[in-house]
């Protein structure tokens, strides 16, 4: 539950950041909290792989910013994205969470074997990502929205039975490619702004 709170706060920080470098650091916070949430359910190698991908992603965005002032002011979009994300998360959780009859006990600090908090975090990240991506004016917030969505997707994929390490490897590569494509677009956007 604590990690769910951290994911929410770090997402709000990334959403509200005006500078790309702060945004990148806040995203790192989201990624770390999200992957710690899975706890002992995933292997050490899988966790290390996901964290390495998050670090590389942050580094790519940090370098793409070129200086500490470059970014995109969210303005009113911050509030729209937050309200839409909160509403959609609640709706998605009501419709799509595991519909088994068993009681779910969630503690503040302990692990959550039912996966309910992981699903809630995934829905929150997906909703926030969609809202940010749809209201983005350029590649800076567009990349952030895409990366948040992808982190939410990673959380849901962790709940699927199957070859988890292979899927984690594929999603880690995907995250790095999204960051690279986003950084490429950010560099182009900057060239256009400065022309």
């Amino acid at each position: 539950m604590l990690m769910l709170g951290l994911v929410a706060v770090a997402t709000l920080a990334a959403n509200g950041a005006q500078h790309l470098r702060y945004m990148a650091l806040a995203f790192l916070g989201v990624a770390i909290a999200a992957h710690l949430m899975a706890g002992p359910d995933i292997s050490v190698w899988q966790a290390a792989l996901s964290l390495a991908a998050a670090l590389v992603t942050t580094a790519i965005l940090f370098i793409a910013a070129r200086d500490g002032r470059f970014g995109e002011d969210p303005g009113w979009r911050l509030w729209v994205a937050t309200i839409v994300a909160a509403t959609t998360t609640a709706a998605a959780f009501a419709f799509l969470r595991t519909a088994s009859g068993e009681d779910v006990h969630v503690s503040v600090l302990g692990a959550d074997p039912s996966g309910v908090t992981q699903q809630a975090a995934a829905f929150w990240l997906l909703s926030s990502g969609v809202a940010i991506l749809l209201t983005a004016r350029g590649a800076v917030r567009g990349s952030l929205g895409a990366l948040l969505m992808l982190t939410g997707t990673q959380l849901l994929v962790q709940l699927v039975p199957g070859p988890q390490f292979a899927l984690a490897l594929m999603l880690a590569w995907l995250q790095v490619v999204v960051a690279l494509a986003g950084a490429f677009l950010i560099v182009n956007e900057r060239a256009l702004r400065e022309a």
Binding site: L96, L156, A166
Partner: protein, 450 residues
């Protein structure tokens, strides 16, 4: 089976390192793609292998798809090497080729989806070109947004459907399958989700556009059919007709809307892009009928449309480059103009090309489904025919005595070769349709598991 994928992936890294030496990067790229085709064809159909617990299987459809899609990539790489130097294209083509092969051979739906998103993201770098003079940055950003919006939503819905217990209310599965369908519609640029494709059609380099419409869009469609087959969602779709209705509505809207938009334009790239969207709509209708002929026709349409789009977009690029600021015309590149026109035959599904059986099957099954649906598809084909005729008349409006045959007529030669391949395929349709029919069998079995 991993060898051709590894070869193309490694080739992409090497091509990236030598990309600025076009005289080396061009032949290297063509060589890698040829070697990958030879490897794929040399394996027996049905060969399987496992990597980190993920199974890869070389089905007959994967062999056919690899042959056609990597063949299109070779024609693109040849054109860029000889006629339109753009050094970023070579590593992009090889990486896209590796991702396409992964999509065709993987058997886990989530892995197929992941590889597909990778394939669709790879060309973002080759979409932007002289960003100060055009809107190619905006087009690339919109493509990036659409791919990731559709990609993440679809992947999440797939993951949820795989992790939820089977005792869910039907509404849950309807919602999840509807999200997957809309996610694919976003990536396929089906109407009404086509705005990014319209912008791409106008602003990005012709070779990158051909990579998207000629290779990646058909791959996306095949991935959609494969994911439906392998995800175990098909029985739920059969029981709940709403999803089938959604697919039919999207398909019909794209078929009619794409044809209507194509008839409204004489710009070569737009005509091709909207013709592709109209044909994809017809293919979606084919899948939505959930019948053997519909599925065979749908896959046949997308594969041939991909080849036709590659041919037409390369020709359009060659004509535009030689026309400069003037209206594109056959005067400056008659061979490329001819390649554009004969590419139109593939787009409308004219006999005796191999494009015909696909259109015939889908329209036939659509008529047996409902008269209105069949009439809509025939109307769509008529619309594409009119659009292609208008484009042909627009580029051939000048008398032949003014034509100047272009130097290095790569687009013309490539177009003629592709046309001949489609003609030979039309003479021997069994070789083309048998692998697709084998996939249709798998699809039908997944539809009604014993």
């Amino acid at each position: 089976m991993t060898l051709p994928i590894a070869l193309l992936g490694l080739g992409a890294v090497i091509a990236f390192a030598i990309r600025k030496r076009v005289q080396y990067a061009g032949p290297f790229t063509v060589g890698c793609l040829l070697a990958a085709i030879v490897l794929v064809v040399s394996f027996d159909a049905g060969t399987t292998t496992e990597v980190l617990g993920l199974q890869l299987r070389l089905s007959e459809l994967a062999q056919l798809g690899a042959l056609m899609l990597l063949g299109s990539l070779i024609s693109l790489a040849l054109t860029v090497w000889i006629d339109e130097p753009a050094y970023n294209f070579f590593p992009t083509a090889l990486a896209a080729g590796a991702a396409v092969l992964a999509v065709l051979t993987l058997t886990a739906p989530i892995a197929i989806y992941g590889a597909l998103i990778l394939a669709l993201l790879i060309p973002v770098g080759s979409f932007t070109f002289q960003v100060h003079r055009n809107r190619s940055y905006e087009a690339a950003f919109r493509h990036f947004s659409f791919v990731l919006l559709g990609g993440c939503l679809g992947l999440s819905a797939l993951a949820l459907s795989g992790s939820l217990p089977r005792d869910q209310p039907p509404a849950t599965f309807v919602l999840l399958v509807a999200i997957i369908v809309v996610a694919f519609a976003l990536k396929l640029a089906a109407i009404p989700f086509h705005t990014h494709a319209a912008l791409l059609a106008m602003e990005v380099p012709a070779s990158a556009l051909a990579l998207y419409f000629g290779v990646l869009v058909p791959t996306t469609f095949i991935a959609f059919a494969e994911i439906l087959t392998l995800s175990g969602l098909l029985p739920a779709i059969v029981q709940i007709s709403k999803v089938q209705d959604l697919l039919l509505a999207l398909g019909t809207a794209s078929a009619l809307g794409g044809a209507f938009l194509a008839t409204g334009s004489t710009e070569l790239r737009r005509v091709t892009a909207y013709s592709v969207i109209a044909n994809l709509g017809q293919a979606l209708v084919g899948i939505a009928t959930l019948s053997g002929p519909g599925i065979v026709g749908a896959i046949a349409i997308v594969l041939v449309t991909g080849a036709g789009a590659t041919q037409q977009l390369l020709a359009a690029g060659a004509i535009e480059r030689r026309s400069g600021a003037d209206q594109p015309s056959a005067t400056v590149a008659p061979l490329a103009a001819l390649a554009f026109v004969i590419g139109g035959f593939a787009m409308i599904g004219a006999p005796p090309l191999v494009a015909f059986p696909g259109h015939f099957f889908v329209e036939l099954i659509a008529f047996s489904y409902s008269g209105v649906l069949g009439a809509a598809l025939v109307l769509s084909t008529l619309g594409i025919l009119i659009a292609q005729l208008r484009a042909a008349i627009a580029i051939f409006r000048v008398a032949p005595d003014h034509w100047r045959v272009e130097s290095r007529p790569v687009a013309g030669v490539v177009g003629t070769l592709l046309f001949l391949a489609l003609l030979v395929g039309g003479m021997q349709p069994d070789g083309f349709l048998r692998p697709i029919a084998a996939f249709a069998d798998e699809f039908i079995r997944a539809l009604r598991p014993l």
